[in-house]
């Protein structure tokens, strides 16, 4: 009996070992990553965020520029299941009614508890053009009558929920495009530095040290303030990504250089050189793939820095400017303490920033552990 059990364990061990030894590098990384629960959760959160932001027009409740002057600074409407009549399986909201408090001279919103407005899936609403291409007016959800402000409204009565979704598209994509730019600069300069060594290595190393030894925020502020005022939103968007990646390529270039220095002594590089492969092709075809995993980890961990940088610049009014919306632009509305004290929902875009950055950090940590061949 016990022998059979022991043999069973031995067999499954051998099978596990075989699976381990036969797996490719990427399979190993995927398996190790799957064991990291927080990283997996982070990946799911990011997938949802990016999906929603890509189809922001569809998921948003209304047009982001639509002003509702009757509902200025309306508080968030709660989705409810329980009314005075008891439990309702269909979710609903109570419409808002504005009244003037004559004693305090303040506007007060009352809930119309007598007329619950039920939520509906796939409703026709404000017209939009998805990615400026497809005309439609279909929205994921809406209400039967009255308004639906899940995150309240701002000083012009614009729906914060829809604005946050559109802003997600800007903020999330700035991270990716900035990282792509960082990747190009970091790889080429790090590649030159590590592959050729000598004087060019020296120059690039000093440049990296210089970039990392000066405080970034003041530099970013000065560079973005120097942008001409008459630039189009798209130009400003790309200028901001360039400004953000100017500072952040150093870390990546260091990784590339370190790995190249280590790898260029290997036999397969010598073989490639003897076979007549040029330096550029050797770097791209033979060297880059051997430390791709490190690059991906580094890039994942660089995205949150970009998102935080854009948010900070736009918050100060030096980055993107309205009518473009990003999380930073939305947070700019929350600069005044008195406004925030009366309308705390204006801080909600900040929560989205925190969740996104947390998710990226978890995924990056998970990838780092997974990509380390010495950790099992």
């Amino acid at each position: 009996m016990s022998e059979a059990v022991a043999a069973g364990i031995g067999a499954s061990d051998a099978a596990a070992n075989e699976r381990y030894y036969l797996a490719s590098q990427w399979q190993l990384i995927r398996r190790k990553f799957a064991r990291h629960k927080l990283a997996k959760a982070g990946l799911v959160v990011l997938a949802v965020l990016y999906f929603v932001s890509i189809f922001a027009e569809f998921f948003a409740i209304q047009d982001i520029a639509k002003r509702d002057t009757d509902n200025i600074y309306a508080p968030p409407q709660r989705i409810r299941f329980v009314s005075e009549q008891g439990f309702s399986p269909r979710p609903f909201v109570y419409p808002l009614r504005l009244e003037m408090d004559r004693e305090k001279f303040r506007k007060v919103y009352h809930l119309e508890t007598s007329q619950p407005s039920y939520l509906r899936l796939l409703v026709r609403g404000d017209e939009y053009r998805l990615w400026n291409l497809f005309r439609s007016d279909l929205h994921l959800f809406g209400v039967e009558h009255g308004t639906l402000y899940l995150l309240g409204t701002d000083k012009f009565g614009r729906d914060m929920f829809s604005r946050v979704l559109y802003a997600a598209r800007t903020s999330l994509s700035i991270g990716l495009i900035g990282v792509a730019m960082t990747f190009v600069i970091g790889c080429s300069l790090g590649g030159i530095s590590g592959f050729f060594g000598g004087r060019s290595d020296m120059a690039v190393q000093r440049l990296i040290e210089f970039m990392q030894s000066i405080p970034t925020i003041p530099l970013w502020m000065a560079l973005s303030a120097a942008m001409p005022r008459n630039w189009s939103p798209l130009q400003i968007y790309f200028a901001i990504t360039i400004i953000l990646s100017i500072v952040s390529w150093g870390g990546l270039a260091r990784v590339v250089r370190g790995k190249l220095l280590q790898l260029r002594a290997e036999d397969f590089v010598m073989a490639a050189t003897i076979a007549g492969t040029g330096p550029g092709a050797t770097i791209v075809r033979h060297l880059l793939p051997s430390f791709m995993s490190y690059l991906i980890v580094n890039l994942t961990l660089a995205v949150p820095g970009m998102i935080l940088g854009e948010t900070a610049l736009s918050f100060l009014g030096l980055g993107l400017r309205p009518p473009v919306v990003s999380w930073g632009v939305l947070l700019k509305e929350a600069q005044n303490v008195r406004t925030v004290a009366l309308h705390p929902w204006l801080l909600v875009p900040g929560l989205w920033v925190i969740v996104t950055v947390l998710a990226f950090n978890f995924v990056g940590d998970g990838l780092r552990d997974a990509a380390d061949p010495y950790k099992q």
């Binding site: 030894s213 925020i217 502020m221 900070a312 303490v337 950055v357 950090n361």
Partner: protein
């Protein structure tokens, strides 16, 4: 070792030259120069200036010379402490920065100290009580602290203290002390306002350091000499602080160079939100008013101070850690 210090000094000079190029570029970036602005002001007040007069002024200020000559002249002036005029305030830049740089440096230094004072004990606790409630709390705090932008944390604290505690935390001084000369009461008043600003800026750095301290101490605690000492009956507290902590602190000390620019950045943006009398808000208003002379000087002064701070921290590390000294002597 002297060659190491010499090399380090040389790098510092190189960095400063690079900083000055960036500073000059910031002045040159926006279209127009000091005179175009001056001309606009004159036109607004109804005076006009002839082409010849303008050319004369341009010659006087050296704006007709090629960029590299202007740069050299500008550097020469900078070295003599002449940072030019701020057209926004109509005051010498040196005076404007001088008023506020003391508090800026003070804030950054205290924040740096606070970061270590918070991170090291929490990191030690996290490592010695691995997977305990306290360790998880510290980890969560660490991650959230890293993910929250400084200015958002400042906003949240401002909102909290305003609406819940009914106490305004903006500024370093209460209104009655704002223009008062320095006195004991004013210092006390400042001490009441300082902690919020320090807490806000220190959080991000602390969050990162806790994780470094925790992992390096965990690595150290697994080593043979710790097990040997424990089996020989060395008391737990003494064992911890005598060796593993002292070794684990090393990577933390060597991060000063990376931490200082981060703290200066954080101090600037937090100071803008909390309206502290440091160079932060000054830089911000200068940039919005396109007062590039002032803005570039602030960026340069901040960068130069950071570079000097990093150099000092490197020298301290050399003094604290015999391994670096030894290593340098070997390679030299």
């Amino acid at each position: 070792m002297t060659s190491y210090i010499g090399r380090r000094l040389l790098y510092m000079v190189f960095t400063m030259v690079a900083v000055s190029v960036v500073g000059f570029a910031i002045i040159k970036l926006p279209p127009g120069d000091y005179l175009t602005f001056h001309l606009q002001q004159l036109q607004l007040s109804g005076t006009t200036m002839s082409e010849a007069q303008l050319e004369g002024l341009r010659k006087l200020y050296g704006l007709d010379q090629p960029d590299y000559l202007q740069y050299l002249k500008w550097v020469a002036n900078f070295l003599q402490g002449n940072l030019g005029l701020s057209h926004q305030w109509n005051k010498p830049v040196t005076e404007l920065i001088g008023e506020r740089i003391g508090l800026t440096v003070l804030l950054a230094v205290i924040t740096l100290a606070a970061t270590y004072a918070m991170a090291i004990p929490i990191g030690i606790y996290s490592a010695t009580h691995q997977y305990s409630v306290g360790d998880y709390t510290a980890t969560v705090f660490g991650f959230v602290g890293l993910a929250t932008p400084n200015f958002l944390l400042a906003l949240i604290l401002m909102w909290f203290s305003y609406s819940v505690l009914d106490f305004s935390i903006t500024g370093l001084f209460s209104s009655e002390y704002l223009d008062a000369p320095w006195s004991f009461a004013k210092v006390l008043d400042m001490l009441k306002h300082l902690p919020v600003a320090i807490f806000v800026v220190a959080t991000a750095g602390t969050a990162g350091l806790i994780r470094v301290m925790r992992s390096s101490l965990l690595d150290e605690l697994q080593k043979q000499y710790v097990i040997t000492a424990r089996s020989k009956g060395v008391e737990e507290g003494q064992l911890l602080f005598k060796y593993p902590v002292r070794i684990a602190i090393n990577p933390i000390v060597s991060t000063v160079g990376g931490l200082l620019p981060e703290i200066v950045s954080g101090t600037i943006i937090t100071a803008i939100v909390l309206n502290l009398p440091t160079v932060g808000p000054l830089l911000f208003t200068a940039l919005t008013a396109e007062d590039m002379q002032l803005a570039s000087s602030i960026v340069m002064v901040l960068a130069i101070l950071t570079v000097i701070g990093t150099f000092i921290s490197d020298m301290l590390l050399l003094w604290i850690d015999p391994r670096i000294r030894f290593d340098q002597e070997q390679t030299a």
